[in-house]
Symmetry: C2
Subunit: 511 residues, 2 copies
């Protein structure tokens, strides 16, 4: 209940301060108004069946109404199930059923989806559309008292996209969110003067967690329904944005945009990013474009209710004693412990060795919803098993190497595909490559590389072998190559589809 | 368990950084050393009977050993019972028995007390002296794994001095301490570069809570066993202190000291205080003496695991829009809600009206140890009843008016003794005064004032009545006066003993 409490505190300490901005719609509501709307909206949700022990799903783009609805569902005592707006209907149906959602709140864009879901998903009793007059009326309902759920009450089920198998529902308590919000508030310095731009989608904890931190700090919220550089600069200008979180490619896009306005960038106090490191070249541009900002990187996952590792602002420098850590994701933030464990034994490995990244801390999930086996596996020995491979340096800075499932075990040795790919890609004749493990009678698995040569280069296995030998250990060098002119098969988000490559190899082997 | 986790994180992210300084003893231990000692010490405490569900009492002045022992007891899974070093033996015996403490750790000063307690308190099975060779050996024991108690596990029982009745044991969970530590870390900006001087005693949550915040931030600790200005400046010089918490009178003492060293004060980044407001004159001196420091005031209590209300640094100014709040204790900190309630109905009163200060939040205690009645009363309707009287202004800033038990109810009106005392004390002829409620057949209670005239002044009731009438409402004016040359009876900490005055009055009435 700490976060609904934060709404009331914000209304008490900053009653007239801006809470939620939607200047397009002519809305810029104060914390007092926002607290009143949330209490009313909670009553309306309650009338639609929301309450303690009830899941309320949302499927909507970023907007003040979406954000206040999430807080109102908590106020009513319900559990949040925010859906990824990019899901296919089959996945939506699965998640609504699996989470036992009773109410689905959408914006106009997903109103038809909601209607269809209501027909097809048993148990889904009601829908509500944020852009409707029904919603406007809901905000005028007689307010209810905060349900004030306890810290160990289930607060949300956030489904993570399973590239293999069904999505898993990460079950998070109010304690998880309270700690996550406190961590964000502290690490991003989210005070009453902060205005955070929700540029990433609200259904991602990376964004929602910062939103909660901003609420704890009684700061303001600005929303981008969909990213574009004109809209981005418009929000900065109209809503007095001070805090940004974007992935590095978006940061570069923002700096390259024709709408770029250095006066607006100079007002930014905090730039955080994740999902990929920034290059020294991009950092140089960031430092110049954001002269007032603390720049920091986060690494985290839904299962830890957001960030658990941070590369601090003082490490975002190009020279001096503190430089040289840009390729890492940093150190555990206060409230988390971090270790690298051997995936086979689940025991810590020495500094410098690659293993599974594992964290523990008060923000770590209690488990996966209705999935005791996966929960048990993910939380074995009290540590959250990230499924990511990484290593710590002597100073405890973490480098993320790869997804663990991209690890090949050959003759008892762990080989990370990314390491081999990095070695191959430094060959001047390699345009693209992908490394995978193929079944091998003798070694268990063996390293196989698919390589696309650069135009005009004639590559052969001996060439590539010789190149790799200077860079990585012998047992990591590919045992076989598929050198081909065709592009690698990519997923919608631009990742190499290794399962397709594996299927192609199997088809050729057993035609 | 978040705080023992913080010890391991500090050892991971700042292994060689200073953790605990005791430069007098030639000790300045790193976080890696400290984490190792705590794990060993925990094993030694476990061998002495400490463990989950077991209370470990401490009675010692501030020292690195005392602090590491508190953390080691948590590491062993035990519950802390830190005793006030000023207690009489009778109180010590009561608390040890009531808390069911099994182990008592003291420094040399209290070794005799410990030996006597062990004879007289059943259940107290062992003692350990911090200055002993046995302790040195304990720090070399084979380390144990952190017991990792859950968030809702009992972490401490802190006894509050009852001016009426027996001390009450405030039962605090690991969640309480985790939230309190996160709040302190955020509000005091306790990062890895911070060194906090433990000037107030460790058995006070005001000090211990900041110590936990500093630990979360992987910062350093410096200790003052007993306050004196030479020792204070010595610690600043030797331990590179950056963070201070002192009461206003001590702040003034520090500035007036012949040892004053402006170079050392200029290094301080944070000065916090509590228990009393600072005057504009003292603030002017503080702003000059501490040019780099954030100056802030906290209001809190043991029952809320420390501070819940804060007057922020930006309010510590003498002029401008943000000035004018120095007489208040500020606004609720993030994580707390605050209200003023009518003591009779327990319902909120409008801004400007005096009532009981009540807070709620995740750091609030679960109750008093083995005292369901007092727990129920203190936490009625989900709010912590502070027992303090206060009022909120239009901007939600809290002024602490008085202790609630110093409230007189006369003819249905609430009259706060402090208000009447403030009025009386502005009379030029009044040297000292105390106001109390006496039983009255008609009004329930009536206002009675004991007044000590200033030398050379002849005071009478009519004089005082006329004076008060210009300052406070008629129903608040004393109905009777006891004007006497004798000094008022004072307690050891300098508070007027109203119970003595009441007894004197009763003795005179019924001799």
């Amino acid at each position: 209940m700490m976060l609904t409490q934060a709404v009331r505190r914000a209304a008490a300490v900053r009653p007239h301060g801006m809470a939620l901005a939607d200047t397009d719609a002519g809305e810029r509501r104060s914390w007092r108004q926002t607290a009143e709307r949330i209490a009313s909206l909670a009553a309306a949700l309650r009338a639609l069946g929301a309450g303690p022990g009830v899941q309320v799903a949302t499927m909507a783009h970023n907007s003040p109404r979406h954000f206040e609805t999430l807080l109102a569902a908590w106020w009513a005592g319900a559990t949040l199930v925010p859906l990824n707006t990019r899901l296919a209907f089959d996945e939506i149906r699965y998640i609504l059923a699996h989470s036992e959602s009773r109410l689905l709140v959408t914006d106009d864009v997903f109103a038809t989806t909601a209607a269809r879901a209501r027909e097809e998903v048993g148990g889904l009793g009601a829908t509500l559309v944020l852009d409707d007059t029904r919603y406007v009326r809901a905000c005028g309902t007689a307010p209810m008292t905060d349900a004030c759920g306890g810290l160990e009450t289930l607060a949300g089920i956030f489904y993570t996209g399973g590239t293999t198998g069904r999505p898993k529902g990460v079950a998070l308590t109010h304690a998880n969110f309270a700690f996550a919000a406190l961590n964000m508030q502290r690490d991003l310095v989210l005070g009453p003067e902060a205005v955070y731009l929700h540029a990433a989608p609200l259904f991602h904890l990376a964004d929602f967690g910062i939103g909660l931190g901003a609420t704890l700090g009684a700061g303001g919220h600005s929303f981008l329904a969909q990213f574009s550089t004109p809209r981005f600069y418009e929000r900065l200008a109209r809503d007095d944005v001070t805090h940004l979180q974007l992935v590095p490619t978006m940061l570069a896009t923002v700096l390259d945009a024709p709408e770029r306005d250095d006066r607006l960038l100079a007002r930014i106090r905090s730039v955080s990013y994740g999902a990929a490191p920034v290059s020294p070249a991009l950092l140089a541009r960031l430092l110049e474009a954001f002269p007032q900002a603390r720049i920091q990187q986060f690494y985290g996952m839904t299962e830890s209710c957001g960030a658990s590792v941070m590369l601090a602002p003082e490490r975002h420098v190009l020279a001096g004693e503190l430089a040289g850590k840009l390729g890492t994701v940093g150190q555990p933030t206060a409230g988390f412990e971090l270790r690298i464990a051997d995936p086979a034994t689940d025991r810590p490995v020495p500094a410098g060795e690659v293993g599974e990244i594992q964290v523990r801390g008060a923000a770590v999930m209690r488990g996966y919803w209705r999935d005791p086996d996966q929960s048990h596996q993910a939380l074995a020995h009290g540590w959250l098993h990230s499924g990511d491979a990484g290593r710590l340096d002597d100073e405890g800075f973490l480098t993320v190497v790869d997804r663990l499932k991209d690890m090949i075990i050959s003759g008892g040795e762990n080989i990370y595909c990314a390491e081999v790919e990095n070695a191959l890609s430094t060959h001047p004749g390699v345009a693209a490559c992908a490394v995978l493990g193929l079944p091998d009678a003798h070694w268990g698995e063996r390293v196989h590389a698919v390589v696309v040569p650069r135009d005009g280069f004639a590559l052969d296995a001996a060439d590539l072998d010789a190149h790799c030998r200077t860079l990585i250990a012998g047992y990591k060098i590919p045992r076989s190559y598929d050198i081909r002119p065709a592009a690698l098969p990519l997923s919608a988000v631009g990742k190499v589809q290794k399962n397709v490559l594996r299927a192609q190899w199997l088809a050729r082997k057993n035609p």
